[in-house]
Amino acid sequence: MSRRKFLGCLTAALGATTGVRSIAHAASNKHFEGYPDSFGVLHDSTKCIGCRQCEKACNEVNELGSPEKPFDDLKVLDTRRRTDEAAYTVVNKFEPAQPGPKSSPVFAKIQCNHCQEPACASACFVKAFKKDKTGAVIYDESLCVGCRYCMVACPFNVPAYTYNDPITPKVTKCTMCHPRILEGKLPGCVEICPKEALVFGKRKDLIKLAWKRINEKPDNYIQHVYGEHEMGGTSWLYLSGVPFDQIGMREDLGVTPAPQLTSGALAAVPIVVGLWPVLLTGVYAIAQRKDKIAKEEKDAAVKEAIDQATDEMNKQLAQLKDKMTKEQQNAVANEVKKALEEAAKKAEAEAAAADGEGGSEDAPEAGKEDK
C-alpha cells in the first residue's frame, strides 16, 4: 500500500469532521475513541535503517537551526538521545539481547505519539494542548504559562522546554506537521523516508495495515501493535521484530487513558464543595450546642447556689431583724424602765418627802410584757 493512496482520503476527511467534538474530551471520564477519521503514522522498525533522514526533514520543516553534528554523521546513533528543543524527533540504535529476524541493530524513531487522550492536554491548566481532529496534538504557545506539568505528565517523556530563554520560553514537541497536513501534505519525516518505514494514513487503516503485516509474516514481528492501546491509544503506531522494551519503549504503561488516572481525584471536588460546608456547619452547631448546654448547666448551678445563698441570707436577715427589733425594744423598754425608775425615784423621793412610802412595782412588769 503506498502512502500516496492514504493521502487521497485526506481532504475529504478534513471536510467531514469539522466542528465535531471540538471540546476538550480530556475533561470527561468517558473513554475517547479518537476522532473517527483522524490520522496517524505507522513506524515499522523492521524497515528502518537509521539513516537520520527523518531527523533532517523535521529540522528543516520546523526550522530548528543547524544541528551540532550533521545529519549524515551516523556516529551520533551510538549514544542514546531524547527529543529536545532542537530535535522534535530522534532515531536511536539498539542492540537487542534477543535478535529479531533482521540482524541487529534495530533503529527506533521517537517523537510525540499524539495520544488519543493526551496526558499533556489533560494536565495542562490553561488548555495549551489540544487534540485536533486531524489526530495531531497541537500546542498553543500564547496560552502556555510554562509550568511544565505537561512534561511531568507525558508517559513517553516527549515534551521539552527552552530553559535558556528568559522571555519567551516554550514547550517544544513534534506537531505531526499539523500545518502541512492541513495543506494536504505529508509530515516531513514520512515524506523523506527512503525505506517506507513510515506510513501516514487514517489511524484505523494503519491498525489494519499493521496487523496485516504481522499476520502475513508472523515470524518477522512481535504480535503487538505498540500504540494501539497504550495509554488509551496513540496516533503513532509501531511494529517491531524484537520486544518493545528492548528498543527503548516501555511496555508497562497500561491501557488506561491519562485523564482517567486523575478523574477520581477530580470527582472529589464537587463532593468536598457540597458536603464539607454542611458537615462543618453541623460540627459548629454541635460545638455551639455543647457550649450552650454547658452554659445552661452552669447557669442552673449558679442559680441554685444563688437561691441557697439568698435563702440563707434571708434567714440571717430575719434573725438580724428580730435581734435588732428586740434590741430596739429592749432599748425602748430600758428607756421606759429608766424613766419609770426615775419617775419612781422621784415619786419615792416625793413620797419620802411627803409620807415616806410609794408603789414602784410597775416598771419591771412593763419590761416583761415587751418580751
Binding site: F125, V126, L143, V145, C147, V152, P166, G254
Partner: protein, 393 residues
C-alpha cells in the same frame, strides 16, 4: 505621661546580630540569583532538564510550603468550628504563618514557571478544568484571599480601623469554613498531581489514594508546624506575648500534640492498607523499600509515638521534639514523591539534583518569609491581644 513613655522606650535596636547578618547575606545572594534567573532564563540557575522538569522549587517551595502552611486551617477550624476556644491565642499566629506561607509559595512560583506574568491565565483566560494543577491554582488563589481577609483584623487593630475590623470579625465562621473547603481541595490535589504519572513514580509512593495521603499528612503537618513555630516564637519573641497567650501556650502544645499523634497513627494505618491494596509488599525488600521504611517508621511512626507519650505524660519537651521531627518527615515525604521516587526508572546520569543556585533561591524565599514574619509580629497584635479588643470572644 512622660515618665511612662520613657519606661516603654525600646532599647536601641542592635542591627548586627548574627541572624540579621545571615539574613542580609542570603537576601543579597538571592537578589543576584533573581537577576540571573530573569535575564538569562531558568537554565542559567537550575539543574532542571527535559526529563526532570520539576526540581526543589516545586518539591520544597510549593509542596512543602503548602503542607506546612496547613496550620492556618487546622487551627482556625479547631477554634471556631470545633469550638475549642482554649486554642484561641494560637489562631492569629497560625493564620499569619499560613498567609505568609501561601504568599511565599506564589512568590516562589514566579521563579519556577517560564512566563510568570501569565500566572493569572488559568483563572482568567483559559481554564484547563481537567487539570489537577488548575484546581491547585484556583484554590491557592482563593485561599490566599481568604487568609488575607482573616489576617486583616490584626492590621486594622494596629491601624485603628474599628468599623472595618468589626465587619471582618463577623465573617469569621464563614471564612473558616471556606478555608477548610479550599484547603481540603488543594492539599489533596497536590498529591493528585502525581497520579497522572504512574509510570514515573515508584509504586511504593504512587497510589490511587495519593490525594487522601496528602490531605491527611497536611493536617498533622499543620499541627506540628504550629507547635514548632510556637516553640521558636517562645524562644525569640517571648517578650511580645501577653498573659493569655503564655497561659494558653502549653495547652495548645498538649492538645495539638495529642491530635497529631492520633492522626499520624491513622495515616500510618491507611498507608499500610494502601500497600496491601496495591500488593506492593515485595518492594519492601528492595533498596527503595528500605528508604520507604525510613520514611514510614522513622518519620511517621516514631514521631507519632513520641507525640502520644508526650501527650500522656504531659511532657512538653517530647511533644516539641516530635513536632520538629514531623516537620522534617513531611519535607522528606514531599521530596520523595516529587524528586527521589519520581523518575526512579531513569539511569543515574539522567537523575536530578538541585544546583546551588536553586537552593540559594529557596533559602532566599524562606528568609524573606522569616523577615516579614518578624516585622509583622513586631508591629501588630499577633502574639498578644490588642488591649482595646480584649474579652471579646
Amino acid at each position: 505621661m512622660s515618665q511612662e513613655n520613657k519606661a516603654i522606650q525600646p532599647e536601641p535596636y542592635n542591627w548586627f546580630t548574627p541572624f540579621n547578618i545571615l539574613t542580609a547575606v542570603v537576601l543579597a545572594v538571592g537578589a543576584v540569583l533573581t537577576f540571573m534567573r530573569f535575564t538569562q532564563g531558568m537554565g542559567a540557575v537550575t539543574n532542571l532538564d527535559n526529563n526532570n522538569p520539576w526540581g526543589i522549587w516545586i518539591g520544597f517551595d510549593l509542596l512543602c510550603g503548602v503542607a506546612l502552611a496547613a496550620g492556618g486551617f487546622t487551627t482556625s477550624a479547631a477554634c471556631y468550628i470545633f469550638g475549642l476556644k482554649r486554642f484561641h491565642s494560637a489562631v492569629r499566629p497560625a493564620i499569619l504563618t499560613a498567609f505568609l506561607g501561601y504568599a511565599l509559595v506564589v512568590f516562589a512560583l514566579h521563579y519556577d514557571v517560564g512566563r510568570p506574568w501569565k500566572l493569572p491565565y488559568p483563572i482568567f483566560v483559559s481554564q484547563g478544568t481537567s487539570s489537577l494543577l488548575f484546581e491547585v491554582g484556583l484554590c491557592v488563589f482563593l485561599y490566599l484571599t481568604v487568609l488575607f481577609i482573616e489576617w486583616t483584623p490584626a492590621a486594622f487593630e494596629w491601624l485603628g480601623f474599628k468599623k472595618l475590623r468589626t465587619i471582618v470579625v463577623r465573617l469569621t465562621l464563614l471564612l473558616t469554613i471556606f478555608g477548610v473547603v479550599l484547603s481540603t481541595l488543594h492539599q489533596s490535589s497536590l498529591g493528585a498531581l502525581f497520579m497522572i504519572a504512574p509510570s514515573k513514580l515508584h509504586p511504593l509512593w504512587y497510589s490511587g489514594y495519593l490525594h487522601v495521603y496528602f490531605f491527611i499528612s497536611a493536617i498533622f503537618a499543620g499541627l506540628s508546624m504550629v507547635i514548632f513555630e510556637g516553640t521558636m516564637a517562645h524562644k525569640w519573641l517571648h517578650h511580645k506575648m501577653d498573659d493569655t497567650h503564655l497561659a494558653e501556650a502549653d495547652g495548645v502544645v498538649l492538645g495539638f500534640g495529642k491530635a497529631a499523634s492520633f492522626i499520624m497513627m491513622g495515616y500510618f494505618g491507611i498507608k499500610v492498607i494502601g500497600l496491601a491494596v496495591d500488593n506492593n509488599w515485595h518492594y519492601l525488600g528492595t533498596g527503595w523499600g528500605a528508604w520507604y521504611l525510613v520514611e514510614m517508621i522513622g518519620f511517621v511512626l516514631f514521631p507519632a509515638i513520641l507525640y502520644s507519650v508526650g501527650a500522656r505524660e504531659k511532657n512538653l519537651k517530647f511533644i516539641r521534639i516530635a513536632a520538629a521531627w514531623t516537620v522534617l518527615g513531611i519535607v522528606l515525604n514531599r521530596f520523595n514523591v516529587s524528586l527521589v521516587a519520581f523518575n526512579y526508572h531513569l539511569p543515574a546520569a539522567d537523575r536530578y539534583f538541585p544546583s546551588l543556585s536553586e537552593i540559594g533561591i529557596t533559602l532566599f524565599v524562606v528568609f524573606v518569609g522569616i523577615t516579614v514574619y518578624r516585622f509583622i509580629t513586631a508591629k501588630m497584635p499577633i502574639l498578644y491581644e490588642h488591649p482595646e479588643y480584649k474579652d471579646e470572644h
